[in-house]
């Protein structure tokens, strides 16, 4: 049994100027203990798809089609109350900005224990004991003193550690981390990622990591989904995505990451992807990336590409993978099937 299955999920926002189709049919699977990375640029639907899973969409947002199966329960059918029993308990979230994600008026201890007391019905004393253990586990020194302090007395990295402690305290089966390191210094980013890797192994939790930072993905994820324009364009094991990508968008993303090993910076200039992401009020009928793609064919503008199976676990939604493609793909002809 899979831990999480997302089947053909569509999510839209209904605004006064029309419907924004933010997620346009994505399917994903996550097995127990897996770490899945979802990458893509701002506005590609990666956060919205995960907020749909947890039922935390803004008031204007709605799942219009598709199912989310958690273990064997279809949670798209859940009521608010049922979802609340799941959130923070079996599925928890970590957000981008630890400076604003904690309530400034409540002590760290209270924010670590309030959901534990609600979900697990433990006493205050027991909750406090577990909170202290958790603070030590996430590497916050002097936990007895820190537990009574307020967020403004914590540094950015310490706050994110506290957020992680809060998300783990109910021992969830799944943690969805939405850009957990984006707002932090580079050195702190590395510490937080190491902590997450370490805790995942120790507590046997699955993780979905949303990020636009490919370095973060490479570091921690076993599988990667690349999203663009509300769709998944490529999905596969991290190694395949990084070294044998079969989608021009993924390749473009890769080229826009600086490589410190290049000898002279001038030799290999960073190459941004030209053009603008698609307008999700009127999503294009074809591949959302086609207008910006150097290899686009006529068919790319007309119909969305189906998934081509590259290997057992690697799929790419790009017509270049078709053996009848008229254009030679950047990865060469031999891979076309």
């Amino acid at each position: 049994m899979k831990l999480l299955q997302i089947i053909n999920l569509h999510t839209s926002f209904f605004t006064h100027i029309g419907e924004v189709k933010a997620v346009r049919g994505i399917s994903l699977e996550l097995s127990h203990g897996g770490v899945l990375g979802i990458v893509g640029e701002s506005g590609c639907g990666k956060s919205v798809s995960m907020l749909s899973v947890t039922g935390l969409l803004a008031e204007t947002g709605k799942i219009t089609e598709g199912q989310v199966i958690f273990e064997d329960r279809d949670i798209t059918k859940y009521t608010d109350k049922q979802m609340a029993r799941l959130r923070g308990n079996e599925i928890s979230m970590i957000f981008q900005d630890p400076m604003t994600s904690l309530n400034p008026l409540l002590s760290i201890g209270s924010q670590l224990t309030e959901h534990l007391i609600k979900h697990k019905r433990v006493t205050r004393g027991e909750a406090r004991k577990r909170a202290l253990d958790m603070l030590r586990l996430v590497g916050i020194p002097d936990a007895e003193k820190r537990i009574n302090q307020y967020p403004h007395e914590f540094s950015g990295g310490m706050r994110q550690r506290a957020m992680i402690a809060a998300s783990l305290i109910c021992r969830p089966k799944l943690i969805i981390a939405d850009e957990p390191t984006t707002a932090l210094d580079v050195t702190i980013q590395a510490q937080i990622l190491d902590l997450m890797k370490d805790l995942r192994a120790r507590l046997d939790t699955s993780i979905i990591l949303i990020t636009h930072d490919l370095g973060v993905v490479a570091d921690i994820c076993s599988r990667v989904a690349v999203m663009y324009g509300g769709l998944i364009v490529e999905l596969g094991p991290a190694r395949d995505i990084f070294y044998h990508s079969r989608h021009p968008y993924t390749l473009g993303l890769m080229k826009s990451v600086p490589n410190p090993r290049t000898k002279s910076a001038a030799k290999e200039k960073l190459k941004p992807i030209d053009g603008q992401p698609p307008d999700l009020f009127k999503p294009p009928p074809g591949c959302p990336f086609a207008p910006r793609c150097d290899y686009a064919m006529k068919i790319c503008l007309r119909a969305p590409s189906p998934f081509y199976k590259i290997s057992e676990e690697h799929d790419s939604a790009c017509f270049l993978n078709d053996r009848n493609a008229s254009v030679t793909a950047p990865w060469g002809k031999e891979g076309q099937s």
Binding site: A84, L86, F95, N103, L105, E114, H115, K118
Partner: protein, 308 residues
């Protein structure tokens, strides 16, 4: 903290001194005196002036007054002869104004916070528009109009509540409601504006992501973060409402300090005016000080200290 309180105390003494001085000389600048309108002979009037020391030069009167109040002697009323300013007037009538005021502030606070949260949560919907309308009406309709309408409908026509007097809890309802219009409006607007900002903040999303109950999210996380502007406003509101309203006390025949104060000014009852002004001054300073303390209780980021 100790240093802060000491500094505030010394600053308050200075404020009170300035208020005493200004009020004393301004009262003396107004034409007429306490005995101008009494039908007595010129000789008797001079005798009265001499009795209360009003025949001496103004500066000398001022020095004498300061010396007296430093000894705790606020004198007696010049109109209601023999009545002591503190014991027979202020402490006699202020409790009535204060009791009515407390009920009114509690009403403003409960209704204002509730309406404000409701409007903020349902931003742009019908409930929001209704709450905004109530807030606008509360601030634009003068309290005596609200009072008169209540008196006529609830009191005279429906006979649900007594129209005048101040003996049972039922007497409090109408004057308190009439008095709470402005406070309710301000608190509603302040709460709504802040809650609209707070409800979209990251920590509210965190609270929802933790699967907390709706009421916990709204009250523990939302309300507490929305209440600071309301606390700021509570200082002036409490001072304003508890010191009594001349109009409302007159309308409902409440034996409060508000109506006495206004009368004492128009009848040039110097000693009563001075006593009440000093009392109000201390009361307002105390209210503002309490509000500052309350900040620290609600928001751990605020520390009391003097930057001057």
């Amino acid at each position: 903290m100790g240093r802060y309180i000491l500094d505030r105390f010394l600053a308050s003494l200075l404020t009170i001194f300035v208020v005493i001085t200004l009020t004393f000389f301004l009262m003396r600048l107004m034409p007429g005196g306490p005995f101008t309108s009494e039908r007595i002979t010129e000789k008797a009037r001079e005798a009265m002036n001499a009795k209360y020391g009003l025949d001496k030069p103004v500066v000398e009167q001022y020095v004498i007054y300061l010396r007296n109040i430093l000894h705790g002697d606020f004198g007696t009323s010049m109109i209601f002869k023999g009545k002591e300013v503190t014991g027979d007037i202020i402490f006699q009538f202020f409790p009535n104004s204060a009791k009515l005021g407390i009920v009114s502030v509690a009403l403003s606070l409960a209704a204002g916070l509730g309406l404000g949260l409701l409007a903020g949560a349902r931003q742009g919907r019908l409930a929001d528009k209704a709450a905004t309308l109530i807030a606008t009406l509360g601030i634009t309709i003068p309290s005596f109009v609200i009072g008169s309408v209540l008196l006529y409908t609830v009191g005279v026509r429906l006979r649900w509540l007594p129209t005048t007097g101040f003996t049972s809890w039922r007497h409090y309802i109408m004057p308190a409601a009439a008095l709470s219009g402005i406070g309710l409006s301000f608190i509603t607007r302040l709460t709504r504006t802040k809650y609209v900002e707070v409800k979209n903040s990251d920590f509210m999303r965190t609270a929802r992501a933790k699967g907390l109950d709706k009421s916990t999210i709204i009250f523990k996380h939302g309300l507490r973060n929305s209440i600071l502007p309301v606390i700021t406003y509570m200082g002036p509101l409490i001072a304003n409402v508890l010191t009594g309203s001349f109009v409302i006390e007159r309308l409902f025949a409440v034996p409060g300090l508000g109506s006495d104060f206004v009368q004492s000014v128009s009848r040039r009852d110097y000693s009563v005016v001075m006593g009440v002004v000093i009392f109000y001054c201390i009361f307002i300073i105390a209210c503002n000080f309490l509000v500052d303390i309350l900040y620290v209780v609600v928001d751990p980021r605020i520390k009391l200290q003097n930057n001057a």
